[in-house]
Symmetry: C3
């Protein structure tokens, strides 16, 4: 029997630690039939933007009713707020540090503070709200809890506006947000915004027009393509673009012929 | 409630990337009650043979109705075919690049191309058929779909005949297919084919007769035994056979007294 | 439909190997609806104490009926016993090498040898009892099997008494049992045993009183706090205490004002 809502999808920077297992134990204690999916636990420690990027790219692939648990939480134990964002088709819980802005503002129907003692663990560690606050809240939501029961309505959500590409006179300018394990440089520019004849430049290096697959370039030569999460990326066939171009997170990328 | 078939078992070279989570999202969207098991995502990138070896060794441990999703897919986006192999007791989906030959030819009842638009994602990335073609096909199969609905019957399956050991005048000759994280050299020779007094040689180094466990040799000395997946392996107690012998994938192994 | 007992929680030193997937295949074959949770597979190879520490710290977060499968098993294939410990609220299976002493002696209601052929795999590898003995036993327990059916009552369980902190004239003396991936030094001294004004010393370095979160110290300075599993740990804010202090497993920790 599935729970009324779900699955619960986890995105954290906990790596291979046993903390993920503890989170699942808390969920199983409250919602034994909830289906839990690991999106990723390999976000670089405390890298809110990388967590956000992965959530944004994955959003389209999860069913209605999904509850995202986003725990990249460098401010754990400080005054930062714990939030639940109700996006209608799905819910998300996490710290209010920018990571929840993976949900576009127009999709946010309501925001609630997570404060109700009865929906979090009684005993809270100062350093692990993923297990003690966000996991139990998500489990109760999976059981069908009205998000408004978690706490009073919260004002807004911290935005990370700089991660949205800005319009230039002939296209868009964005940045590399993530370097994946192959050395591909993943940007914040969605592929569908580029025209068929769009051309890509990273810092001062022209990369050319968008290709379809990695094999559309000579070995060792950089190419731009629309990656599997829908964002433009710069890659080197059978190599590392990060190493080959000497670039990484924050490198500026411009796409002429995009809007 | 379980699905009519299942579990769905994933074997890929995606490592710790969030792509595995996206695959699970697609499956949960189509078959919310399907049980998904990660066999491994740590196949060396694009190493079809390693993927095949792991699938072959694991086959006996999964229940009737299992759907294997085998995605080591260096040719993604090219003309290589997407297939579903019906082996009666279980099904497998994956690219036609040799990896599906983990199913012995005599077990293959039917082979179908995966082409039906209604059982794959409408929007397909050129670089991620694991998520866009194989995951949805597997999820529909878990829901009970007749494999013949996926597409027309396909001719054969690409074989990797060289990974089958060949008979010699006094035994079998095979090769090292996988080096595990302990440096053990895992071969393609099934242990049950060796007689009680069989002796093993790797390249020109005699290893001696088959032992029962790692502790049956002196520390630092190589030994041969039947590994946990049923294949003969060469190990060094408390050490790395790969380093100690200076050998790796492709090293020739002969077993005198096997057939 | 959930199984009568569960979830089944796995703690092993198998790392990213496909062996974990085989274990899950065996469980799915016997108990298709069992819910399996990975606590950790990243225990350092053969480090019984690290496995025990993780199990002990996680225990409180799992529901009644949980079946722990503890497989750190350097003696696999030797005469060491295979046991099931019945702790009333939960069960645990694993080798009798000390790892099962994560269950406090007063919680152990009964101990059974795992010997019944019908509840283990017929064909047993000498090197992989996790799959061939402990996984099937756990799956049958999840299906509701009476633990006494697994085999005759077993005498005791191997203890690791040295991992319990000892009382000194003004507090407790314990040791570092685990170094986590951030270089934090995790001890065996439970935080609730320390008074509000307790002070911590590691080897001969005074660390001061217990802080609440990592940010309660200057960057680069060591601090002691109660970690998320409830044990006292020594950390360096934004750094590695293991490197900074030049200490690791076995380092002696004394807490003045604890009992």
């Amino acid at each position: 029997m599935s729970t009324p809502r779900g699955p619960i999808v986890l995105a954290t920077d906990f790596g291979d630690s046993p903390y993920v297992g503890q989170i699942k134990g808390v969920i199983a204690s409250i919602a034994p039939d909830a289906h839990v999916i690991d999106l990723t636990h390999q976000v670089a420690p405390q890298d809110i933007v990388e967590g956000l990027w992965h959530l944004k790219g994955a959003l389209a692939y999860f069913p209605r009713g999904t509850i995202f648990v986003a725990v990249v939480d460098p401010g754990v134990g400080t005054a930062r707020r714990a939030l639940c964002v109700d996006a209608g088709d799905f819910l998300a819980v996490g710290p209010d540090n920018g990571i929840l802005s993976f949900i576009a503002p127009e999709k946010r129907r309501a925001v609630h503070l997570i404060e109700a003692e009865e929906y979090t663990l009684r005993k809270k560690s100062a350093v692990f709200h993923g297990r003690d606050i966000f996991a139990p809240a998500a489990a109760h939501l999976a059981n069908g809890l009205d998000p408004a029961k978690l706490g009073p309505a919260g004002e807004g959500v911290i935005e990370l506006p700089w991660i949205v590409p800005r319009a230039t006179k002939d296209g868009l300018e964005g940045a590399v947000l993530v370097v994946d394990r192959f050395g591909n440089l993943l940007t914040n520019i969605e592929g569908h915004r580029a025209a068929a004849d769009a051309t890509v430049t990273i810092e001062k290096t022209p990369i050319g027009s968008l290709r379809t697959t990695y094999s559309d370039a000579e070995v060792g030569r950089p190419l731009a393509l629309i990656g599997s999460s829908g964002f433009i990326e710069i890659a080197i066939r059978n190599g590392s673009a990060a190493k080959g171009l000497g670039l990484g997170k924050g490198a500026r990328v411009s796409v002429k012929g995009a809007r």
